[in-house]
């Protein structure tokens, strides 16, 4: 009796081994069939007929216009392109990549994450042909450049240093648009003292990305208080995150975000979704809202942009030292395979034609008639007339400003830029940590 149990015990152990090894041989046979298919397909040189693109943009206007613009290429080439906007993109892309079912193309808002992916060998570099076809300046392309190879295709540019306001309400209350940071803080104090509407609308809730609005404010302050050089050192971790200058900027934002100064429709700043600040601005619950150019997508539909009654306009978030620094951001498309059609779609996404299709689709979705689309592209060779004059002025600022810096949190390693800078920043906003404690915690989390 004993003997057979042992024999089967041994078999069981082997079964363990066999299943472990069996897994890998299955994979091997899968690749075999894939290669077979590839061989078959070489006869008729065609790539995938279904391409999936994922990204974090998901509002009806943004995701819809993106899909419309992709359809233009898809219809012309007989390929079904599906865009999937994902609220938890930052997490899900990792899971998808780990599980081996990555999309064909994903739209990455963080060059830092793009570099992580590239160094891990998860995304494929652009072919020389596609690289040469991108109609963007090198200044933008460099954010998709990792170790000398181009991985990302710029698709969108955002101008962040803007303050949204209603000129008519300013005129009513006798406020002037501030031109220096001193005037800005004085205006905030005056508005708070006057009672009525609060000076600022702030909300930093954004699902798993909660806190990014705070990081934008901190970046603006670092640029303004300490200049572009310190900013670059900070991004490259040449100065520690808890450098006294950075802490000073973090504190400056917190000082501005007092209860008297901020209208938060969610009760507190950290509970208010960043999308939910457009309505109170139009309703007159607050006077000003500092947010990027794409924010026009979240201003209630039907709002006219201009200086008339009830209309919404922007002013430049004033600087301190007179050097007019500008904070920008953008998204880049990356490919997870080098299928012929995927590469050709990548080339299209980097073209001026794509930018114009998307701009027109998005403007139409926003109601047309000169409404701001919320989309902006610095692609070269677009017909400027498809942008409203205000949007053209944004583009001009991006092109001509002497100091333009990419969103720092997007450039930092994902652990920090899409991790602790958001979460510990949120804790600081909530008062659970001081600016110094938050900076210390973020510095401790910097991967090294």
């Amino acid at each position: 009796m004993k003997r057979s149990r042992r024999a089967f015990g041994a078999l069981f152990a082997l079964a363990l081994v066999a299943t472990a090894c069996g897994g890998s041989s299955d994979e091997a046979s899968d690749t075999v069939t894939a290669e077979e298919e590839a061989v078959e397909e070489e006869a008729a040189p065609a790539g995938k007929t279904e391409i999936t693109v994922t990204g974090p943009e998901r509002s009806d206007e943004e995701a819809g216009a993106l899909q419309d613009a992709l359809n233009v290429w898809g219809d012309a080439n007989g390929v079904t392109v599906t865009y999937l906007g994902d609220a938890d993109w930052e997490t899900n892309i990792n899971t998808q990549v780990q599980a081996g079912n990555a999309p064909d193309i994903s739209i990455v808002p963080q060059p830092g994450k793009l570099a992580d992916f590239a160094r891990a060998g998860l995304i494929v570099p652009l072919t020389d042909e596609v690289n040469a076809s991108i109609e963007w300046s090198d200044a933008w392309k460099q954010f998709g450049l990792v170790d000398g190879q181009q991985y990302g295709v710029p698709m969108k540019s955002d101008l962040k240093s803007l303050v949204w306001y209603q000129p008519s309400r300013f005129a009513e209350a006798g406020y002037e648009v501030p031109t220096t940071f001193g005037e800005f803080t004085a205006l905030v104090d005056k508005m708070a003292a006057d009672g009525g509407a609060k000076p600022l609308c702030v909300g930093i809730e954004s699902g798993t990305a909660t806190g990014w609005t705070y990081t934008d404010w901190v970046e603006e302050m670092v640029l303004r208080q300490h200049g572009a050089d310190v900013y670059d050192q900070w991004v490259a971790h040449e100065i520690p995150f808890n450098d006294s200058r950075i802490v000073e900027s973090m504190q400056a934002v917190l000082d501005l975000w007092t209860e008297d100064n901020v209208y938060a429709s969610g009760g507190t700043i950290a509970a208010t979704a960043f999308q939910d600040n457009g309505q109170p601005l139009v309703d007159g619950d607050c006077y000003m809202h500092r947010q990027a150019s794409f924010y026009s997508a979240f201003i209630p539909a039907g709002t006219v942009f201009g200086d008339g009654p009830g209309e919404v306009n922007v002013f430049y978030f004033p600087d301190i030292n007179g050097d007019k620094p500008v904070l920008g951001a953008g998204v880049l498309a990356v490919a997870f395979n080098d299928d012929a059609n995927v590469m050709s779609l990548m080339s299209y996404m980097g073209s001026a034609q794509y930018a114009m299709e998307r701009q027109q689709a998005q403007a139409t979705r926003k109601g047309g008639n000169g409404a701001l689309s919320g989309f902006l592209s610095a692609a070269i060779g677009q017909d400027p007339s498809i942008y409203t004059p205000l949007e053209q002025s944004f583009l001009k600022i991006l092109e001509t400003a002497a100091i333009v810096r990419f969103d720092a949190s997007d450039l930092m390693p994902a652990d920090v830029g899409a991790g602790t800078f958001w979460t510990d920043g949120t804790s600081a906003v909530n008062g659970d940590l001081t600016a110094q404690e938050a900076a210390d915690a973020i510095e401790a989390s910097w991967p090294g």
Binding site: R3, S4, G266
Partner: protein
């Protein structure tokens, strides 16, 4: 469309073949067992030959899958023939050596012969493996996996044999060594590009171990044949289930443990660094606020309860000889004191580990306690069925669903706007009433004053009659009512509820941000799970209470016990094991709590727990090593509870 049909067809084909092959294998194994009783020596040869075939087949397996990648012209049949000869040769060699061993009667000789022969076969197998099937051995890794495997199998051996017997453990440990070496070399290491020598050495070692293992089986004696067949049959029937457990549970857990020893990208061995960093993380244990413990209101409440307990306990001791026992007047204050003390400690300590422990403490205590209370109170009342059904219903709501519902209950809006969250609407509404004027204010005040007065009356009466055990409840109600009224009528402070006085004396709504105000936002999250789990506890307890034999309670009643005494001294001891099972089941669930935290706060605002932390590290920060280490930590901390739970369940059911 054609594509889709083709996919379905090929999937069907694959499934049919897989099912057919597995079925055939299984039937074959049964047939083999049928023959075993009569020809057990031959069965031994066959089973060993099969083992040899499988081992050699698996180890040289990738020759089979290489036919198209290595040589473009090669056919599957050709590769199959190239592959099949080695397993067949090994199978024949193994059964031949068994034949020789079976001729030996003395154990020492059997061991020597078997070790030498099978060791040689192993060495030859190692030498004959093609380059691409030879593992690139990293001695450290192989040794690690082997040691772990030996411990694992040894532990199984020790459990299976109940009484620890050296021989049994040794046999399992040998098995573990073999499995560990094979896994460590071929499972962990990369295949290909290694020297012939390493293949031979490894093969020979494995062969020797297998030989030793087989030699430890005594020669066929014939007396155990019936039992042999029974056991073999059991093994054949168990094999599919064990196989699935291995694929879905054992192998992933082993891999997780392995990954937890690697660095963030899963490429470099870092030992226990990941485990250390869990505990070194300042966000795991934050003791900086511990000093607040001594001045916190919860500590004071706990102290007061403890004082009451001491007073009652001294009395109780005088009467029954015990300071505290089931149902004595001194028990409730003690429980309250412990609860308050626990809350006080957990609310001053912060961090991931502390939060997880806090969850375990609160959810287990509240769910079990409330479930028991409801089960007892609802037993035999008029609307028992509907009441229980309503309380049971949340169990059907998914955790994510419940979290979304409770988010809406907890939500707060800007003070200038109406509150849309249920709790805040009530809280701010109470504030309005308390500071407002008119009929509603009077009504609410009066509604509270009536029960307060009644409770006060009852407490006074008990005091006069010296019925000490009956004072506690009315006194507590009266105390609460008086405190409410004092605040509500603004006799003390500025009124009750969500309102505060602004700079210029105006009254402003002051909603509570339930999800963002640490440390008690943790508690609001826990309530969601309590809401779900109370129904579960209640149903089990109801059944357990029903199952208490009537003779016992009737006998107690005849002996003159009152309802309380019957419950505490007869029913409670009877359902004690059930309470244990329910509490441990809930504990295991709470240890793994993830959905609620993920949906409601995503671990922000000081509500991080281990599971969410694991998810964040593994899938968000792509820190595979640390994520795996946290997973292992959860696994290990759940294990003892699981063990107790399973043992209890076996005992009670």
């Amino acid at each position: 469309m054609r594509d889709f049909a083709g996919k379905i067809l090929s999937t069907l084909l694959t499934v049919t073949i897989a099912v057919g092959v597995s079925g055939a294998l299984w039937v074959l194994a049964n047939l083999l067992v049928n023959r075993m009783r009569d020809r057990s020596v031959r069965a031994t040869y066959i089973s060993r030959a099969l083992t040899g075939f499988v081992v050699a087949g698996v180890l040289s397996g990738n020759r089979l899958t290489q036919y198209s990648t290595a040589a473009p012209g090669a056919s599957f049949v050709g590769s199959f023939i190239q592959w099949i000869w080695l397993p067949i040769v090994v199978a024949v060699a193994v059964s031949a050596s068994s034949f020789v061993t079976e001729r030996q009667q003395r154990r020492e000789r059997r061991i020597i012969v078997d070790v030498l022969l099978i060791g040689t076969v192993g060495g030859v197998l190692g030498a004959l493996l093609v380059d691409t099937a030879r593992p690139n051995v990293v001695p450290g890794e192989v040794a690690l996996v082997a040691v772990f495997s030996i411990l694992f199998f040894g532990a199984i051996g020790a459990t299976v044999h109940r009484r620890v017997r050296t021989l049994g453990v040794l046999r399992m440990a040998l098995l573990g060594a073999v499995a560990g070496l094979v896994l460590g070399a071929w499972g962990v290491g990369d295949l290909g590009a290694s020297s012939t020598r390493s293949g031979i050495v490894l093969g020979a070692i494995i062969g020797c171990l297998v030989g030793a293992r087989w030699a430890l089986i005594p020669a066929v004696s014939g007396e155990h044949r019936v039992a042999t067949e029974r056991r073999a049959r059991a093994a054949v029937f168990l094999a599919p289930a064990l196989g699935f457990i291995a694929i879905a549970l054992v192998i992933p857990s082993l891999r997780t443990i392995y990954l937890s020893l690697l660095d963030r990208r899963g490429s470099k061995f870092v030992g226990i660094d990941n485990y250390l960093s869990i505990f070194r993380n300042p966000k795991a244990w934050d003791t900086s606020r511990f000093g607040l413990l001594w001045t916190s209101r919860l500590t004071v409440a706990s102290g007061v309860c403890f004082l009451v307990f001491v007073l009652l306990a001294v009395r109780s001791r005088r009467r029954s000889g015990h300071f505290v026992e089931f149902g004595s007047a001194s028990a409730p204050p003690l429980i309250l004191a412990v609860m308050f003390a626990g809350f006080a400690v957990f609310s001053t300590l912060r961090g991931t580990l502390v939060n997880t422990l806090w969850w375990v403490f609160v959810v287990t205590a509240l769910s079990t306690g409330l479930g028991l209370l409801i089960a007892v109170l609802a037993d035999g009342v008029r609307f028992e069925r509907s009441a229980k059904a309503i309380i049971f219903m949340p169990l059907a709501v998914s955790m994510v669903g419940a979290s979304v519902i409770f988010r809406l209950v907890y939500i707060s809006r800007d003070a200038s706007k109406p509150q849309s969250g249920t709790l805040n609407a009530l809280w701010v509404g109470l504030g309005r009433l308390s500071t407002g004027e008119g009929f509603a204010r009077l009504l609410v005040g009066a509604v509270v004053l009536i029960p307060t007065g009644l409770a006060l009356l009852a407490a006074t009466r008990s005091l006069v009659r010296r019925q000490w055990t009956k004072i506690a409840l009315p006194a507590a109600v009266a105390g609460g009512g008086i405190w409410f009224s004092l605040r509500y009528w603004q006799l003390v402070g500025t009124g009750l509820g969500g309102q505060r006085v602004g700079k210029s004396g105006e009254i402003i709504a002051d909603p509570i941000n339930f999800l963002q105000e640490p440390p008690f936002n943790n508690f609001w999250l826990m309530l969601v799970l309590v809401w779900i789990q109370t129904g579960f506890a209640m149903v089990i307890f109801s059944a357990a209470i029903r199952a208490v034999p009537r003779e016992l309670t009737e006998a107690a009643a005849i002996d003159g016990a009152d309802t309380q005494q019957i419950f505490w001294r007869v029913t409670m001891p009877q359902i004690g094991p059930t309470i244990g099972v329910v509490a441990t089941t809930i504990m295991v669930l709470v240890m793994k709590v993830f959905d609620i935290v993920k949906v409601m706060t995503n671990g922000n605002f000081g509500t991080e727990v281990l599971s969410n932390n694991m998810y964040r590290e593994a899938f968000y920060n792509l820190n595979i090593g640390l994520g795996a280490a946290i997973a292992v930590l959860i696994f290990v901390s759940v294990l003892p509870i699981m063990y107790i739970n399973i043992r209890r369940m076996n005992r009670t059911i």
